[in-house]
Structure formats: structure tokens, C-alpha cells
Symmetry: C2
Amino acid sequence: MNPITPADQTVAEPRAPEETITASILSAVAEHRLPAGTKLGEQALSDLFSCHRSNVRRALTSLAAQHVIEIRPHRGAFVATPSPREAREVFEARRTVERTLARLAIPHAGAADIAQMRAMIAEEAEARAGGDKPAELRLSRAFHMKIAEIAGNGVLGQFLAELTLRTTLILGLYGDASASSCARDDHGPIVDALEAGEEARLVALVDEHLAHLEAGLDFERGASRPMTLAEQLSPGTGI
Amino acid sequence: MNPITPADQTVAEPRAPEETITASILSAVAEHRLPAGTKLGEQALSDLFSCHRSNVRRALTSLAAQHVIEIRPHRGAFVATPSPREAREVFEARRTVERTLARLAIPHAGAADIAQMRAMIAEEAEARAGGDKPAELRLSRAFHMKIAEIAGNGVLGQFLAELTLRTTLILGLYGDASASSCARDDHGPIVDALEAGEEARLVALVDEHLAHLEAGLDFERGASRPMTLAEQLSPGTGI
DNA sequence: TCGCCATTTATTGTCGACAATCACTGTTAA
DNA sequence: TTAACAGTGATTGTCGACAATAAATGGCGA
């Protein structure tokens, strides 16, 4: 029922409660289980994760600093709802960051990396075929983060993690639900170019991939989405 | 005595206490008044800003999310001490971000912007001549942030704000104190290229500027700096 | 004299309660 | 019927106190 699950802490590894909370919220947002605008009540979270409210507050302030949620004073925390302008800025930033990461990845990409990426693409295609949206989103994001991992720049990697998450929110708001985001297999050719070490082609493909993603946005639709319960219950076609 | 001053809140504008704290710490770090590794005790801060510890904690978690400070559990908050590897990553990220910002700034740079930047350069030179290190650091940072402002991309601007702050920490750790960071007037030609709208030259100059900054680092010196009182009291040239 | 260990002290983490603020419900009046 | 209003409930913000942990001190023994 609740889209946030306490990130199964099997037995060992008793991480700090705040980390569990942030990780759970991040993955929930990354898989469209928490749509933009959702309220994140403190007591609800402290109940769900059975910890004190102070831990929840720490997690929320940390997430707010990463622009994943927005805290309005005396109002509460809400999943961020990027504006059209912010959406464009995020895509511009992604192009900038991913271009560099792709270039940096070329000399570090080993055979194992390439194989793993191909496996991820296959898994993603399978999830898409099976209609498993959350898995598809998760794997698509993991693909981009894998490039960052290969590139070996943690600072840019962190930026990309933030940007891909915000991209997921943007797609949820303005994305075309039918024509899926990464429907076309854009990732396959990217791996090919990375394996071949063809920098110019790789950068062009990454650019094209992101441009295609951005081109699929429709800012008219999401603009007037109040995210009230009425919206969620009446499946009308708008107004 | 204390390098953190409560950011004079004249009369009106009663901002939230957490914002005052974060702003004060950020500016203190940006002006080398708070060296890397400095402990930021909760009670000390709550005393200084005359607010409750909960506000201090919020400010500290927010700063930790921006990698400006580091929170070690049960140990406290410390001004971040970037490793040599992190330093290289930060510079790589800066090159990536600033290249794009410079390019984006070209079509938006008005005459007023150019004039303001020239004024900032003059002020910076004056501060350098007068030996006012904090002012020099502040103005140099402001110059780079001005380009981001002209570019008009808030997301990349926020990234740059974070990166420039981390750069300041890096310079404090590994920078050459004598040969100042931006000693040469690198900023002047950048404004010229921006005004002329010569993209290739502008990007090259920005790249060169950052490369020069990075080349001045000496990772041997700062590596074994424990930041103990003994170090601060004995002005030896380090074993 | 030096090294190790128990004690003390200071700081962070946690907790529950209360106050301040906001959203919502039901009421009243035009 | 609609709009404005007061009351009510729930949520966030604040506070002080206590517990848990780590650092610093001092004492003990070799």
C-alpha cells in the first residue's frame, strides 16, 4: 500500500536509521512509486521505519539539500515538483556531465564492464517487455550510473545521481506515459561506441539520447497538476 | 576571535536561524577563515547564534549533504578535508561545468554584466595588492559565480557554487600560499572573450585558468596535516 | 621514566512533551 | 447557493533533560 518500503535490512548491517530512510525514499522516487508532490509526513515516516522523529528530520533535510524533496516551513516535506524551466536546466546539466563522464569512461572500460552493461540492457528490455515500469526505470538509471562508475569521478558521479533522480521526477510530471522514455534501444549503441573507444561517436550518441528524452516532454500537461487525492481517484482525461 | 560571525542581520529580514548559520559557515569557509578540519561543535554554534541546538543540527546536516563539512558519528562535524583524489575530481568537474556555463553565458552577457565583471576584477586586484586574502578569495569566487548567473542555469550554478567552495578548501590544503591562486590576471582576458563572443577562445581561457590553478597544487605538503594545535604553534617548515 | 588502564569529562544522540502554525470542517450571514 | 468566518484537529517547530559514546585526564604498574 505504502510505496515506501523500509529497504529490507535482512539481518546484519544495522545501518543508521537516517540512511535507511534516505535510501528508501530515493529508490521510491527513482521508481515512480512516489510521484512528485507527495507529502512526506514526519510521523508517518517515523512510524514506518520505527524510529524517532529526529532521525526522519535529518533524512528529510539531507534530501532537501539534494533537491529531491522540498521543505516548506510549517507545511511539511513534499517530493519536489520541478518546473519546466528547472527541467530544461537539468537536461542541460545532464548533457554537460554525461558527456564528460562518457569521455572519461573510455580508457577505463574493461571487458567485464562492457559485459555487465549489456546484461543490464537485456534486463531493462525484459522489464519493459514485461511492463515492469519500476524495474525499467531502475535499470535505466543504473545504466547511466554505471558509466559514471567506470569513469571513476565520484564528484561528477554524485552530480549525475542527483540529476538522474530529478530527471525521473521530470519524466513523471511531463513525460509521455505511452511512448516510453528510453523505449528505443539507445543504450545498446552507446555500449558499442564505448567498447570501440570511439569518443566522437560516443559523445554524439549520449547527446542524442538525452536530447531525445527531453524532446518527449510535454510541459502543457503537467503544469496544472495539483496532485490532490481527487486527481488520483478520478481517472478522467484532465479538467 | 571566532572566525564565524553571525552574518549581520541588521534589523528587518528575520531569516530562519538555520539559514543564517549555513550562510555564515559557507562564507567563513569561502574566505579561509575556517580551515579544513576545524571542529564545529554544536553547543559552540548554538551559543554563537543564540538558537537551539536543533537548528544547528539542521544546518550541519544540510552542509554535510553539500560536502562542505563531514559528520562523523558520535564525533561531531568538521570542515571537510578533500583528499588529493577528490581534489583532482573537483577540478575535472569544474572544467566540465564552467566550460558549459561560459558557453551559455555568451548570448546573455549584457553591457552591464561586462562592466560589473570588470569592476569585480579591479576590486579583486585591489584586495590582492592590499593583502586582504579573504576579500580576494571572496571576489574571485564571485567572479566565477557571476558567469553562472549570466548563463542562467540555476542547476549548474548550484553545482559550481559547491565546486568553488570545495576548491577553496583544496587550495587551503594543497595550495601554494606564496604564489597566489589567481595571481595572474586570468579573469581579464575571460571577460574580453566573453564580451567579444568568441566561444572557442573563451572556453580555452577558462580551461587554461583552471588548469593553471590545479597545476599549482602540492599534494605532498597537505597530506600529513593533522591540524593539531602543535602544528599551529610551531611555525617550522614542516619536517 | 614509560606505557597501559580505569575514571572522569565533554559532546553527540535520543527521547517525550509542549507550543506555534496551518489545513480543514462546520457554521453563519448575505 | 455561495462566501466568509470561527473553531477544531493535525502537523511541524522548539525545548530541556537524559542516555550513549568518545576523548582526555590521572593513576597504576612495570
